[in-house]
Amino acid sequence: MSRTEKLQSVIEDLKNQFEGDIIEIKQHAGDQQIRVSLNKIHDVCEYLFQKHHFAYLVDVFGADRFTSEDRFEVIYHIVSLKTGVRIFLKTWCSEENPVVPTVTDIWEGANWNEREVWDMFGIRFEGHPDLRRIFMPEDFTYHPLRKEFPLLGIPGSIDLPTTTPDSE
């Protein structure tokens, strides 16, 4: 069975198991993105981990669908080392309440990736053990990869050391 067939069988199985919660399946250049409803994303991840050997989490990252209805998107990129299948799961959350359940209990390595999403997009992960910012200091209050954040930054948003050594 080729890799695309295996991927198809995984998707078919997901469709049967989580009828109605698999909202959309998009395909481009061989990559399949499966959109799952927000309240089932953790279950789908766990199901894939346990039943289809998706033991390796490559990445978790966010995206900003600026001006769209459910504004933020979290994408989970997982690989099955047994069959070599790559799957991209995604889920959307609203701007007013950007909270997504954590997957650190399934893949420990999601820890830093989720911290990065929190830092860059301000999406909180419910149940995350240590949700701190990862690149920016805690004193920074903006989320820079949101589309409304200006490319040049916001003057005064971050406390920088004085450049002249003598001044206090």
Partner: protein
Amino acid sequence: MELKNSILDKSKPTFFEKHQNALYKSLEDKHTTVEVEQDPLGTRMILNMGPQHPATHGVLRLLLELEGEKILRNRLDIGYLHRGIEKIAENKTYQEFMPYTDRMDYLSPYSNNVALCTAVEKIAQIEVPDRAQYIRMIGAELARISSHLLFLGAMVMDTGAISFFIWTFKERERIYDIFDNFGGHRFTISHCRIGGVHNDLTPECISMIKEFTESFPKEHSDWLKLLNKNRIFYDRNANVGNITYDQALQLGVTGPNIRAVGVPYDIRKFDPYLKYDEVEFDIPTRLEGDNLSRYFIRMEEMLESIRIIRQCLDKMTPGPIRTDNAKQTYPSKDEVYYSMEGLIHDFMMTDTGICPPAGVECYHAVEAPKGELGFYIQSDGTGHPWRMKIKSPSFTNLQGLEKMLDGEMIADTVVMIGGIDPVMGESDK
């Protein structure tokens, strides 16, 4: 002297106060079971290592809680080299963004260029001529050797042998010279173009590469003689920085670090790109999962790279080095200077760039020296990506380091950082 119970009582940060306090707080919360009640000798302390430290390979900051010489728990603080290149990418055309990728993993710029180009070619469905693919493979493998050489020199220097660094740099210097001839730059080469490469290899460059592939294995075997049976080197690395199979999978470490626990996860074989399915090479793996096994894997990988380069040189046939479609790639300079259409196309490529279809997204990864380096691109139909996520191997590997450091000795910290081989430019993005 009264022992203060909380780290927060002791620390009085003067700069980024919230940030420092959050870090200390998180260190304290890490394992609630570890409690030191009495500390009559004052051996328990918090050591801030870095970000300015010669052995942390850049601006990595480690917060170590020590009891004597033993690390009880630790936290890593990254982001000191954060430049926001994902944000920059959203405001540049795909080709304009390429010089930024050079500066991510600055020890192997060519691999990063290849990663970006292959990802854009996948999303925009651009065909690349064979010769260009072989040239890219040669460049990427030379970059791998160059990166592993720096790893080797730095790691051996971390274990105490200073002169070794200079010997590996002698070889790296030759690779720089080859790259100088390759694309006109010694370091941040930016030689790839979307749809091909910038220029063909000169006969002189090919002979330089051939010469390198002949003389390098000799140097390599000399190093093996020096290191493999070296008592000091062996003892400093064996059983240091252990990570188990389960932990490695759970944490998602990548590159030589995951191959050191016996997972043959190498994108070149797992998901072949360019012409890697047409050349013969092996993926070295080990089972021990310690620093020494990572060293052995990287040493073997260098020889495998030499093998790949030799095959590429044999298989390369003369031909075009860039797609002949001015809507998808830059036209050659001959066209630009001598035809009006060429000039217009060149202008359009610079101004608008390549426009993948609207609303599509895809991912492509290459095996960089540090591990899986991938670009996930979401396109909105314009010449700029809507979102470009860079999956950088150093970032995931550093997360593994945080796990490994617990319970180790302070003196081994430096060796373990060397063994993981992180590049902060890449992990901090």
